[in-house]
Symmetry: C2
Subunit: 361 residues, 2 copies
């Protein structure tokens, strides 16, 4: 490098501070602060001059500095295990939107289903997030207790942790899975298969229990079972395993859509079965792809927007100190009837939105 770059006046200039603005406007720092604080008492005259000076200097209040005094960072930590299925991206998008609407931003953590995520969350807490939302990730009771002590509300999403008594928002796993069983039974199926998600997750366990209990009530045989670990490849393998059995199942319930879609793919491409005809497949979530013409997946819906709204409500309550007694918030869904599973003779009704859902007799 032969020549020294000229130091243009604009280069490297540090962002304007409240002090700078105050000086230019000929007022005190406090006046500047008040101008940028909702509902503080400033005369219209000074407010005017401050705003003008701020604009001239392109002043932006430093939220980090503010948080030091207010103890509010206006950030919410969101931990999610993966973004490679269809459900969680929608959850994250909704969280970002709905938290954004009340002035909060999402600090994202992707845990990769790591069970040992305490270190990650520990780090997250250094950022002094105002709340922690755990979407399908859990934390140790020790850390949960620390959060409680530290005044950081923790809310679980689509996953519950009975031991911790941590507030949680989830779909109606038991009911949804039971509906799936009842629906398949009503369609005349008698030989069932079940594909589990992650064995340890409350979500998978509850859906399994709901499914099996309902089958038992009907007097059905125990379903065949395989584990798909909530992954696409895992579900493909699980489907192969079930469909290769000497007497394969006539109907398959998968604990989420991501796996149900994998099951459809395998059934079609490897076993030449048409879902809805030779094999019935039911999922859980009602992700966008489930409605694509090529899948037409019958599935129990999790209304993400509602679930997120409830979650954000819990965040607000917790931040406002409104202690809310109810710990687990269960959000009802519907069994959306499409073409991937045989239709029962009765019980299918059409909603005003034009969707078909199934109601028990």
């Amino acid at each position: 490098m032969e020549s020294v770059a000229p130091r243009t006046s604009s280069a490297r200039s540090r962002p304007a501070t409240a002090e700078d603005v105050a000086r230019l406007a000929g007022v005190s720092r406090s006046a500047v602060s008040r101008t940028f604080t909702e509902g503080a008492s400033v005369s219209e005259a000074t407010r005017q001059r401050v705003v003008e000076a701020a604009r001239a200097l392109k002043y932006r209040p430093n939220l980090m500095a503010r948080s030091l005094m207010t103890n509010r960072s206006f950030m919410v930590g969101v931990a999610v295990s993966h973004l490679d299925n269809q459900f969680y991206p929608e959850v994250v998008e909704q969280l970002s939107d709905q938290l954004g609407a009340i002035g909060y931003r999402v600090l994202l953590f992707i845990t990769h289903g790591n069970t040992e995520l305490d270190p990650m969350l520990d780090e997250l807490l250094r950022y002094r997030v105002d709340a922690l939302i755990l979407a399908s990730s859990s934390l140790s009771s020790a850390l949960a207790e620390e959060c409680r002590q530290g005044g950081v509300p923790v809310i679980m999403f689509n996953n519950t942790d009975l031991a911790n008594r941590t507030p949680a928002v989830a779909g109606d796993n038991t009911h949804g899975a039971a509906m799936a069983a009842d629906f398949l039974w009503a369609a005349g199926h008698r030989r069932f298969g079940f594909i589990a998600g992650i064995e340890e997750s409350s979500t998978s366990r509850e859906r399994e229990a709901g499914f099996k209990d309902a089958l038992r009530r009907h007097g059905a045989d125990r379903p065949m079972r395989a584990c798909g670990h909530f992954t696409f490849d895992g579900a493909m393998a699980a489907t192969r395993q079930l469909l290769s059995a000497p007497t394969p199942p006539e109907a398959l319930f998968c604990t989420n859509d991501h796996m149900a879609l994998a099951a459809i793919e395998v059934a079609r491409s490897e076993f030449g079965l048409t879902p809805g005809r030779e094999l019935s497949i039911v999922g859980f979530d009602d992700v966008a792809i489930a409605a694509w013409p090529g899948f037409q997946l019958t599935t129990y819906s999790q209304p993400v927007a509602h679930m997120v709204a409830r979650t954000v409500g819990l965040v607000k309550d917790a931040l406002a100190g409104t202690k809310d007694g109810q710990c687990h918030h269960i959000i009802q869904g519907d069994l959306i009837v499409r073409a991937s599973a045989r239709r029962p003779a009765t019980g299918i009704v059409r909603t005003p939105e034009g969707q078909e859902i199934w109601r028990r007799a």
Copy 2:
């Protein structure tokens, strides 16, 4: 509520500060600070006592406070337009992972393709993020200039903004689209259709130019054209429009996979066409779903991990002050050959990973 909840000693206790730790350990605040600062000089003895005291008090350094002195928040703002296609969730996941590996966290912004996102980004800058990554979102040159002045590096991802001279990382749009054209030409097609994304986006424009220029070189007729706006529904409509023409195209190039998948769905379910036989469809991105048995989408790949690695590299350089001359970083991909488009007689080779790709003669 009849009884007042007992104030347990642990409840509402504010998190421990460096001061608290110092007092308990019998050292100064600086000693505590140094203990938690990489490569600071502390004797093993004091370090020991500090760590112990910190553990006892469950001390966690407050990164907000630290950032006030260091001017480093260890947060990177990531603005992404949507999470409802297949590409961006993967990008966000990679960004989170790779930034996480160098100690940075993602502060997420979802812009919903809002062209007027300056207010959003303006707000983001209040958080004093150390860098800003714009994935398929652009910002005004005014704000870009402000960022530069404020010392916040801005990097565009999968989207370029020639006017701003903002550093950008993108796939090889021109080359990829030309490859798609050459591939379809080599397969013997002569009547082409093109589905655009968002008209204003550099991504869509470059892919359109690359595709059309290549066709022109072959002496082909101008392709029929429709706009899918990068959305699934938009692409379905666009496909219907093209396939309903009196002389519909034999081959369709879509500017991303999300739209190509929509095209496959419509071609199959509404026109009874089998992609790869009666109609060839080529996409761009190579998202995970493209490889599903039911789609087998031929597409030009964008190696997300590589692209993100380059992006993170730019962030590091910018933060280290290593000014990097090259402004647009173009990452090469491959034309992944699957079954959604007719195969040319020559040029298909198998990679060591077992994937088929196409090389021009």
